[in-house]
Amino acid sequence: MLKGRVVVIVNGTPYGIIMPAVLIDFLTSPEDTNLRVNFANFLRGLRVLAAFITLLLPGFYVAITSFHQEILPTGLLFSILASRENVPFPIILEILLMEFSFELIREASLRVPSAIGSTIGIVGALVLGQAAVSAGIVSPILIIIVAMTGISSFAIPDYSFGFHLRYFRFAFVILGFMAGFLGIALGLFVYISLVCSLRSFGVSYTVPFAPATNSKGNGYLLSPIWKREYRPSFIAAKKETEQPHFSMKWKYHK
């Protein structure tokens, strides 16, 4: 609220609604502001990487192995070929199978009784993955890809944001299978256009990147506490400054 947003709390609901909410709010967590700035910015960079991996990694894998194998170093290519020697499925079927199994495990682990709740995660993942590889149904490299995608999706702080990334990655897998990098590029283009067209209570979703406004220290990366002087410009707050210019008066004003 001190940042100038409106918060709605209703008796009986555990959630509070904050508005307006823009893209960078969904990739940041409230604990960031209490850490040291360097650590917080490292975590934020990590989360952007996680978002990209969740959305695009399986699509890229399918596109590269189907159309663009020259981008792989020869050693890696031969490792992939070696691991796929005994696999009976084409790559697209393999990846869809493993991705759906992963989503099934995830959904199942929500409703399993808490006594065996933790073991389902281990049993499901390990047994399924290890057994599938030993049976020669999937290749080990694919297990790594699916596991990385899954772990990255857990790194996103907001549940529905992470969910939408999981949801759209299937579209990118199909696009990558269909037309390689061309399909993924066009899919990315439509996705970015969709994201840019959203508005949250009149505020553009991708502010302060597009339209390019002066973020005044409220961009994606955090600035040190003593520098957080302004409220975000898209709020159009009555009082723009949060704290005076020299907040550490004992240090700078003798």
Binding site: P73, L186, C196
Partner: protein
């Protein structure tokens, strides 16, 4: 109906998008056909010319605040001239965009999809175009703003990654084919600054119209730097004495990048970024065409136009029977189109309108 407003940076990226997408194809090669090793000197000379011309255009547009070239031609010659000019611009944008799309899809097909019919690749582009055009006008501009910097960075990366294969002596002999061919015939290279076409349509959309001068000069400057970077990459890497005409020479340059034995053949990554920029350019041009059409015909919504314009682009892109015809268009006819429409025609309309206004002021 409230018009959506554009910020300064978005306007700059808008003008840049035309230059960027044309350089992906054969523009750098065209630019150097006449000038050979004097290409960089010629480009510096032509960029200075282009900046001066854009400055003149801004000055001429200042007398008609808030109106673009369609409104100005209405003031000059009534509804007839307005319809003619609007029609010329729509046809110009559609035809050049479709032929560009055809060339790009042909090169994609040759490189990656040899067994697919060209119509499917074109259709994919059109589907992406139609889906993106259903969103707000501002969405395309914001997407453009996000993507064009990546293309610029990719070109800088290409330049620096290939630096160890450069032979700096290729810049000599310094005047290439001679002074006449460098400075006089070389003026034809002004057609690479086709981005100025968008400058004529910007004034009604700007949030801060007083920044038009800044937008014009900065965007022309950045396009000049970008062009010089592309052309010098090609000039230093490949010989211009015996030209072997390749499709997409910059793509050829990306095949030489290697960092050790691990990162090699990164050209598909470049193609990804260039396809993104291309899709942005398609969507923006179509949106502008639809706005011009709406201005000419005063229809209420643009929704039905989206699919029509998409299919129109597809139809025009399928007109050339094979690649040689469309690439011929790009290298022979397109420069004259740009010089004629973007520079001569529009400048003369602006000058005539200004003269008319001055006459009216004098007689008043």
């Amino acid at each position: 109906m409230t018009k959506s407003k554009i910020g300064t940076l978005e306007a700059i990226m808008l003008i840049l998008s035309i230059v960027v997408t044309h350089t992906i194809l054969s523009l750098p090669r065209e630019v150097t056909v006449n000038t050979k090793s004097a290409a960089i000197i010629n480009l510096i000379f032509v960029s200075i010319l282009a900046i001066i011309i854009s400055y003149i255009i801004v000055k001429l547009l200042k007398n008609f605040p808030g109106s673009d070239i369609i409104d100005i031609s209405e003031v000059l010659g009534g509804k007839a001239l307005k319809n003619i000019i609007g029609g010329i611009f729509i046809v110009y944008f559609l035809v050049t965009t479709s032929i560009l799309l055809r060339n790009f899809s042909e090169s994609l097909r040759i490189i990656h999809y040899p067994m697919t019919n060209i119509i499917f690749i074109l259709f994919l582009f059109i589907i992406a175009l139609c889906s993106a055009n259903r969103l707000a006008f501002n969405a395309s501009l914001k997407t453009n703003l996000l993507i064009i910097p990546f293309v610029l960075v990719s070109m800088v990366f290409l330049f620096f990654a290939n630096m160890n294969k450069f032979i700096p002596e290729r810049i000599f002999p310094i005047f290439g084919d001679g002074l006449i061919s460098t400075f006089v015939l070389g003026i034809g290279n002004l057609s690479s600054f086709a981005g100025i076409a968008f400058l004529y349509f910007l004034p009604p959309y700007l949030k801060k119209p007083e920044k038009l001068k800044k937008i014009a000069v900065i965007s022309t400057g950045i396009s000049a730097i970008y062009l010089i970077l592309c052309v010098s990459t090609l000039l230093f890497m490949f010989s211009f004495f015996i030209t072997t005409n390749e499709i997409t020479p910059l793509y050829n340059a990306t095949r030489y990048i290697e960092f050790g034995s691990f990162f090699q053949r990164l050209e598909s990554a470049f193609l990804l970024i260039w396809t993104l920029a291309f899709a942005c350019y398609l969507s923006i041009v179509t949106k502008f065409c639809m706005s011009i059409f709406q201005k000419l015909t005063n229809i209420e919504t643009k929704k039905p136009l989206i699919d029509i314009f998409g299919l129109l682009i597809l139809a025009i892109a399928l007109v050339p029977k094979d690649y040689s015809i469309s690439s011929n268009f790009e290298t022979e006819i397109y420069p004259y189109l740009v010089l004629g429409i973007v520079f001569f025609l529009s400048l003369s309309i602006l000058i005539l309108a200004n003269l008319q206004k001055r006459k009216q002021k004098k007689s008043a």
